[in-house]
């Protein structure tokens, strides 16, 4: 048992003061999940098959192209996901410098990468301002809709 009730109380108090509408905390076998304003999808999905990749539950991104990138917030920070199946390009053209690197600070709306769908270049932009903490896909790799591309620590 990794948490005492005292610790749980403290965590609850912290969560309550925060602005989140939902939270889910897992420590070993302990799971603590809270929500307000109506349960969204906090609980593991009712129907048998659970989606293998995270699906959008973030506020609609204002900066993305037509298909909204899936951008859940998880332990790794805010995520930007592929808006389409395609090929992931870190730079505007071969040989050029990448749009962003780990450690960079980005503005909301700033282009992070290109996902190429049969010659159609889709610019994928950050939907929050923050610091890039991880890039999950190698340059020129194939991605699917929803594949996590970047983690951003919001500032």
């Amino acid at each position: 048992m990794p948490l005492s009730s005292q610790e749980i109380k403290e965590i609850l108090a912290i969560l309550e003061e925060s602005g989140w509408d939902e939270a889910r905390l897992t420590i070993d076998d302990v799971v603590l999940a809270v929500s307000r304003n109506g349960g969204l999808g906090l609980e593991p999905s009712a129907s048998p098959p659970a989606p293998p990749a995270p699906l959008s539950q973030a506020p609609s991104p204002v900066t993305a192209g037509p298909p909204p990138p899936a951008a859940p917030t998880d332990a790794a920070g805010h995520q930007v996901s592929a808006p389409s199946v395609g090929v992931f390009w870190r730079a505007p053209e071969p040989g050029a410098a990448p749009f962003v690197d780990v450690g960079d600070t980005v503005e909301a709306g700033q282009t992070l990468c290109i996902v190429e769908v049969m010659k159609l270049m889709q610019h994928v932009a950050a939907d929050v301002a923050g610091r890039i903490t991880a890039i999950h896909v190698q340059n020129a790799e194939h991605v699917e809709f929803g594949t996590p591309l970047f983690s951003i620590e919001p500032v």
Binding site: L55, S84, V85, V117
Partner: protein, 455 residues
């Protein structure tokens, strides 16, 4: 051919994956996020998520479907039916990318798919196309053609299907208004406002012939299907063969279909649709569907030919596995389309979660479906849940088996067309005689809607 991208969803994606497995091919299904955990994704060897649930950003995107084929290193693509299956642009794009398209080449698809060009080819080959017109450019042309054809007549969209852009014109005074509205409807639905007109047949049967054509010049038919049991041009019940059709008439229709396929240099599985005038006992060509059809299993049931398997053979450049004189039509098969719709409430779609799902379990009943308990009927796609196909040594036996099967079909969580279909196949009028295309709407449904509902 080694690995097929299945650019579709639902029961046909499951059906094509099965055919791939049977043929020793690998299958990859391109899915929207809504179908990521669906049965098609499970039975295929791999699933690639190409976009969000709306079809326009997933199943209707040629670019995304092709990107999935490339991502998964597929060397062929099966488009199923609906969605992109009759888009020559997809066939062309496949060709450019070196991917085998399981279907006719783009040029053939264009010729066959455009109703007016197909009518022209049919007419050239002596196949009756009905007293009709070419594409009508103006009201004047329409008035002239209408006088030549006589009333009642029917306006149809040249590029169309599914009832959009269609209108019955009973008398001359209605023509102007109907002509303009059909044109604008066609323009809206298909981006192509051309319409034509033809004689309207009041007591008509919808009879279609399944053809198969390989790249070696072999063209065969698998007999005809009757799909007259329609509501708003949507088929509910399909059968093979067409019951009560005069033998010479049936022979004429089958031969016309093969001749037309030859004349079009057709390649692949296709369907040639005809309208049979039950009063005059003649037939006219309607259109060609250049893809596998929803109702293909009834032809499979009476001939034993695996139509999707033949599609794969043809695409691989092989010869058809069967010749015309080996095709035998045995017994009778009926298919019912189980939709998540409420027939008691204007056929309103019934989205929701399927909590129980137990289709009939019988030797002579085939069920093609992608549904399992827990399946979410999505509002994004059409409402087909399953096709139930019953085979019997004769039509009465097939109908009786279908009735017994539908009576035992247990679905909970969404409303379906099962109870309606069970009543249709048990209706004395349906059992006694072949029905016409207007029977369901104008006769059966009126009476059925007045029946007291149970439960």
């Amino acid at each position: 051919m080694r690995r097929i991208l299945i650019a579709n969803r639902g029961e046909i994606a499951v059906r094509v994956a099965r055919a791939c497995f049977d043929a020793g091919l690998e299958s990859v299904v391109s899915v929207s996020a809504a179908d990521r955990d669906g049965l098609a994704a499970l039975v295929a060897d791999r699933a690639v998520t190409i976009g969000p649930p709306p079809a326009i950003e997933s199943y209707l995107s040629i670019d995304r479907v092709l990107a999935a084929a490339k991502a998964a290193d597929c060397d062929a693509l099966h488009p199923g039916y609906g969605f992109l299956s009759e888009r020559p642009e997809l066939a062309e794009a496949c060709e450019e990318e070196g991917i085998v398209f399981v279907g006719p080449p783009a040029a053939v698809m264009r010729r066959a798919g455009d109703k007016m060009s197909a009518r022209a080819v049919a007419a050239e080959n002596g196949i009756p196309t009905g007293a009709g017109s070419d594409g009508l450019e103006s009201l004047e042309q329409a008035v002239e053609a209408a006088e030549r054809t006589g009333y009642p007549l029917m306006l149809k969209a040249s590029a169309g299907g599914g009832g959009r852009g269609m209108a019955i014109v009973n008398e001359a005074s209605d023509l102007e208004q109907r002509f303009h509205s059909a044109r604008s409807e066609a323009q809206q639905a298909f981006g192509d406002g051309r319409v034509y007109l033809e004689r309207y047949v009041g007591r008509a049967r919808h009879v279609e012939v399944q053809v198969l054509a390989d790249t070696h010049g072999n063209v065969i038919h698998l007999g005809e299907r009757d799909c007259s049991c329609q509501r708003r041009y949507q088929k509910l019940v399909e059968e093979a063969p067409a019951a009560g059709l005069d033998a010479a008439l049936a022979e004429g229709i089958r031969n016309a279909a093969v001749e037309l396929a030859r004349a079009l240099s057709y390649v692949g599985a296709g369907t040639v649709e005809f309208l049979v005038d039950t009063e005059r006992g003649d037939f006219t060509f309607l259109e060609v569907n250049a893809r596998v059809q929803v109702e293909h299993p009834v032809s499979e049931a009476v001939t034993g030919v695996d139509i999707v398997g033949e599609q794969l053979r043809i695409a691989a450049g092989e010869r058809l596995s069967i010749e015309q004189d080996e095709v035998r039509i045995e017994g009778h098969a009926v298919e019912c389309r189980i939709n998540a719709e409420d027939p008691r409430n204007g056929f309103l779609p019934s989205p929701g979660t399927v909590t129980r799902w137990a289709p009939p379990n019988a030797s002579r009943i085939r069920v093609d479906s992608h549904v399992q308990p827990g399946y979410e009927v999505s509002p994004y796609y059409d409402s087909l849940l399953a096709k139930v196909i019953a085979w019997g040594p004769d039509r009465a036996a097939a109908l009786q088996l279908m009735r017994r099967g539908l009576d035992r079909f247990k679905v909970e969580g969404v409303r379906t067309t099962v109870p309606l279909l069970a009543d249709i196949v048990a209706a004395p009028a349906f059992a006694a005689a072949p029905v016409t295309t207007r029977w369901l709407e104008t006769e059966f449904l009126e009476e059925w809607n007045a029946r007291p509902t149970e439960g």
